[in-house]
């Protein structure tokens, strides 16, 4: 499965007046394309900090001590603000927890919704156009390289393919717009007829005008082809609706006109999707030829870069020892580093559609880490003072013969040894990755790769041809508002945030996040402030959009019911660490960590009658992180070793692992609490009953 985002060994701390707080302590996870990863945990467990690190919006007093977040060939922890402009909101969007502070109080809702669409629309056009032209240039070069044809021939081939593709895409876009209008118009007609029948037809002028506009938009040779008939019906509707609305009767004329219109739309929607190439009057041939040439080019460049990759691995083997020294030497590491960087940059295959994050970010990461190593972090007097105070406290405890249950955090944000380890890890990871690629080289399918390449180009062609005007933006905003369950949208569009209730504001925030059509959506407790019906509605909406756009979602929440609905995989976080990770059925049907048990048993469902098992106490103060397992103090199943040593991740199955000493082979066998096992039993029984009944 394609990895969209991968977080590796992320460590984030905050400098506070009381000392350094370790908010996220070395977490790693991957997010695959089209999946929902849920992060569950109490407030203060570091889930929001993780998501904010991904978006680069951590608070000013935060220190990113280590790790990397790879996305589309970039390390999000290393890139600058300029590059983030193209990512934030456009490709990674976030639904914030607090609707009060995430809306601008002095801007109308409509403007806030369309602002991003208009700005990002233009940016998206440019971005796609750049991608499109770059990829074509690279493909042409690769075709020439493969020796299939001369430079001039290859250029002509790709120019022809470009022309044909753009023509077809333009036709596709006009067809899509018309088709969408027809669908909308059909819905609208049904709605109006229903309301007339129920005697509840209000807001008439708007709806009829909207309908006329939609119907006119549906005129297209492959949608509503009979333009004359459509004009005739619409003319009839226009002539009767004003008079009938004034008289406020049963609207007989409107109903008959609507029925005619409805028949027209239904006929249009029953048609097959046409072939866009033939409709646009261009031939499909150049694109086909181009694809065939690409197949050869991919094969050639794959073999060529395989050699380079092998060379890169050799270079790594040769130079790794420089970074293994106890104290790094600047001259040596610089020399070895530039060799490594050159070898790895040279081995990146430009014909790969999915950017290889590790290789792309290698140079920047290596430079950054070497820089911090040699320059060190500028010393912070305040932090040192705090550190001394803590050390004193610790020493006095030891002097009195006690063993403190917490450890002292070093005052410097970075430890030189840790950086050295990070550098080695960086090199090893690339090497491992390359070795894997070399080993699986035979399994590459060039026909499929060429297909993907053409698809990618098509997508970008669509992106660069699709223009977002003010009118379209408004129309989309209104539709989005309706989708998130806001009634009376035309009035609401012109209101200010203070005129909305909390739940309504949250829905606007969700609509804004969805408006940009992102690649990854981060939802930070999006439905916590909403009631069940709206919550269910919003979750369905997010799921629907996920399916339609193959979106990847990071869903942060503390509500396990919501998690069960949304998640494909679940990561349970506690005190800055991931304590359990697995698929939804792993975590819900066979939970392994005591903290997961506690969360599950603290939550009542509709059949709970026993007293709830609350988790005693509160999460630990992360200025003084505990020596052992952070959850040990609140855990009634804690073993002695839990207070002394942090448990590693134990693997239960391929998808499921948990960090608890209970999974150690020497640990005593402990069953989950009764409330949890009972519920799992009950759910199982219910499902079986459902199966036999249905």
């Amino acid at each position: 499965m394609e990895k969209k985002l991968s977080v590796k060994n992320l460590v984030v701390s905050f400098r506070t007046p009381g000392g350094k707080v370790q908010a996220v302590r070395n977490i790693s996870f991957d997010l695959n394309k089209g999946e929902t990863l849920s992060i569950v945990g109490e407030s203060g467990s570091g889930k929001s900090v993780t998501s904010k690190a991904i978006l680069g919006i951590l608070a000013g007093n935060s220190i990113i001590e280590g790790g990397s977040i790879l996305y589309d060939g970039m390390d999000l922890l290393k890139i600058g603000e300029d590059e983030f402009y193209h990512i934030r909101g456009d490709r990674i969007a976030m639904i914030f927890q607090d609707p009060l502070s995430s809306l601008n109080p002095i801007m109308r809702i409509g403007k806030q919704l369309t602002e991003a669409m208009l700005l990002k629309g233009k940016a998206h056009n440019n971005y796609c156009a750049r991608n499109y032209n770059e990829k074509y240039a690279e493909a042409t070069k690769a075709i020439v390289d493969s020796g299939l044809m001369s430079q001039a021939e290859a250029e002509k081939l790709s120019d022809d393919a470009k022309k044909a593709q753009l023509g077809a895409v333009k036709r596709e876009l006009t067809y899509n717009a018309a088709h969408e209008n027809a669908v909308e118009a059909a819905d609208e007609i049904e709605d109006i007829l229903f309301h007339i029948e129920k005697n509840a037809f209000t807001d008439r002028k708007y709806t009829i005008r909207e309908l006329i506009k939609l119907s006119e938009g549906a005129k297209d040779e492959s949608v509503v082809s009979d333009a004359a008939k459509l004009d005739e019906v619409l003319g009839k509707l226009k002539s009767v609706y004003k008079a009938e609305i004034k008289e406020n009767k049963d609207y007989p004329g409107v109903v008959s006109a609507l029925n005619e219109l409805s028949a027209l739309m239904k006929e249009a929607l029953g048609r097959k999707t046409p072939d866009f190439y033939s409709e646009a009057g261009v031939s499909r041939e150049p694109v086909e030829n181009f694809r065939k040439a690409l197949e050869k080019a991919c094969e050639h460049s794959g073999a060529k870069y395989l050699e380079l990759k092998k060379q890169a691995v050799a270079v790594i083997d040769e130079n790794r020892h420089v970074f293994e020294a106890d104290v790094l030497n600047k001259v040596d590491t610089d020399a070895a580093g530039s060799k490594l960087k050159a070898a790895i940059s040279a081995s990146i295959d430009p014909m790969e559609i999915h950017k290889d994050g590790l290789a792309y970010t290698f140079a920047g990461n290596l430079d950054g880490n070497l820089k911090t190593y040699f320059e060190g972090i500028i010393k912070n007097k305040k932090a040192e003072k705090e550190h001394d105070k803590q050390q004193k406290k610790y020493d006095s405890l030891v002097a009195r013969g006690k063993t403190p249950t917490w450890e002292v955090i070093p005052s410097a944000a970075v430890d030189l040894d840790v950086i050295k380890d990070t550098i080695l890890l960086l090199i090893d990871r690339v090497k491992e990755h390359y070795e894997e690629l070399i080993a699986t080289f035979d399994q590459r399918n060039y026909a499929v790769e060429a297909e993907h390449f053409v698809e990618y180009l098509q997508e970008n062609a669509r992106g660069m041809s699709e223009k977002v005007t003010k009118e379209i933006a408004k129309y989309r905003a209104l539709k989005l508002m309706e989708e998130v369950g806001i009634s009376d949208v035309r009035k609401r569009y012109y209101q200010y945030p203070f005129e909305f209730s909390g739940g309504m504001r949250q829905r606007i925030v969700i609509a804004i996040a969805l408006a940009a059509n992102p690649d990854i959506l981060i939802c930070d407790e999006p439905t916590t402030a909403l009631d069940v019906t709206i919550q269910a509605q919003i979750l369905e909406l997010i799921n629907k959009i996920k399916r339609e756009r193959n979106l990847s979602i990071i869903f942060i929440t503390h509500d396990l019911g919501v998690v069960a609905n949304m998640a494909d995989r679940i990561a349970v976080m506690y005190a800055g660490k991931i304590v359990e990770v697995g698929t939804a059925s792993d975590v819900f049907y066979s939970p392994a960590h005591p903290y997961t048990w506690a969360l599950l048993s603290a939550m009542p469902d509709t059949e709970t009658n026993e007293r709830l098992e609350a988790i005693p106490g509160t999460p630990p103060n992360m200025i003084y992180p505990p020596v052992g397992d952070a959850f040990a103090d609140r855990n009634k199943y804690a073993l002695k070793v839990d207070f002394k040593k942090q448990p590693p991740m134990f693997k239960i199955s391929d998808t499921h692992s948990a960090a608890t000493w209970l999974l150690h082979p020497d640990a005593p066998h402990v069953d989950p609490p009764k409330a949890v096992t009972d519920r799992i039993e009950r759910m199982k029984k219910k499902r079986e009953e459902g199966e036999t009944n249905g």
């Binding site: 909403l530 069940v532 019911g561 609905n565 009542p604 509709t606």
Partner: protein, 352 residues
């Protein structure tokens, strides 16, 4: 739990209009002594307004609220409307009726004023302070410039208690009762976590020795683990002190777990009222059904295949001919519906 039938609070035809916006419209229910009465509904349906109207944070538009048989709040709008209608329709003969209504209105106004000054049985406390409220937001509902002791003791001070030793002792007692310690008394609210702050809110309510607590979404701002702590606390207090609780929430699993009876509200109206087991076993009103179908459960298989029932009042009801009424369909189970709907609900109950 609620073995006796002593009615502690009775709400009759409560209406609360804000500039023509009918926040609460003709809601009637009774709360028996010792029970937990839950109110559920989506945001903006008037649950909070109902609670606030009972403790007279608003002057109600019309209807009556009786606490232990005493009318503590009365609205006058219904009388005014009756008089207006009578003038328009009845003509000359309406005089006596209008006088009658005027007298009733004057009495309502008098009662309304009198209830403010009425003392409780012990003669010190005001009668109305026997109803206390716990608010939703544990951060916004505590004054950040007051210590916990000041916050908790404020009610006693207003009541006229001057003995500082006694106040201190009482504060310590309630602090321990809600699971905090004496040392917390001198601290400020910002030093506490959300769950602890909500405990302070509970302590402030129970120090007045109330008989009825109106808990307005006391756990919806809290994490799951802390939520369980606060619910367990309320449950313990209720058994120890014999409290009656009106529990307003939108989380149906919590309401089901905690309440004896549940009222479902939709757009200012109460649409169904039954014991919690009955309501979950045999929901009748389409809105209740849609609400129950939306409850998230910790079961991924079930969740992925869940069919949510959508409630659209226009499609579900036809009230153009028959007007809906709030009818007791089986003992203790009330539902809102037109006569034909009620008949079909009855049929449904028999079939199940």
């Amino acid at each position: 739990m609620a073995d006796n039938d002593e009615v502690l609070l009775r709400v009759e035809h409560l209406c609360q209009y804000f500039k023509g916006n009918k926040a609460v419209d003709d809601v009637s229910f009774e709360i028996k002594k010792g029970e937990v009465f839950g109110i559920v509904g989506e945001s903006g349906c008037g649950k909070t307004t109902t609670g606030r109207s009972i403790i007279r944070l608003y002057d109600i538009t019309s209807g009556n609220v009786y606490f232990k048989g005493v009318r503590i709040a009365a609205g006058t709008r219904s009388y005014k409307e009756n008089i207006k209608n009578a003038k328009a329709t009845m003509g000359e003969g309406a005089k006596a009726y209008i006088e009658d209504q005027k007298a009733l209105m004057a009495e309502a106004k008098r009662d309304h004023r009198k209830a403010k000054k009425l003392k409780a049985e012990d003669g010190k406390q005001k009668f109305i302070t026997k109803i206390q409220m716990i608010f939703q937001d544990p951060i916004a509902s505590l004054d950040p410039r007051m210590t916990v002791e000041q916050i908790i003791a404020e009610g006693l001070v207003i009541k006229g208690e001057k003995d500082k030793k006694l106040i201190e002792q009482k504060v310590y007692d309630v602090l321990e009762r809600v699971g905090l310690v004496r040392e917390h008394a001198g601290r400020y609210p910002h030093e506490f976590s959300g769950g602890q702050r909500q405990r302070i809110g509970v302590a402030r309510a129970i120090i007045m020795d109330p008989e009825l607590i109106i808990a307005d979404e006391p756990v919806s701002a809290l994490d799951v683990s802390i939520q369980a702590q606060v619910i367990n606390l309320l449950d313990d207090l209720r058994h120890q002190m014999g409290l009656t609780i009106m529990f307003i929430a939108h989380d149906l699993s919590v309401v089901k777990y905690f309440s004896d009876r549940i009222g479902v509200m939709y757009y200012g109206k109460m649409v169904e009222l039954a014991t919690s087991d009955e309501l979950f076993a045999h929901p009748l009103h389409p809105y209740t059904k849609s609400l129950l179908s939306a409850i998230p459960l910790p079961d991924p298989e079930y969740e992925k295949n869940r069919k949510r029932i959508v409630y659209d009042p226009l499609k579900a009801h036809d009230y153009s001919v028959e007007k809906p009424e709030f009818v007791e369909i089986t003992p203790g189970h009330f539902v809102m519906g037109s006569p034909s709907e009620i008949a079909s609900y009855k049929q449904e109950l028999e079939n199940s």
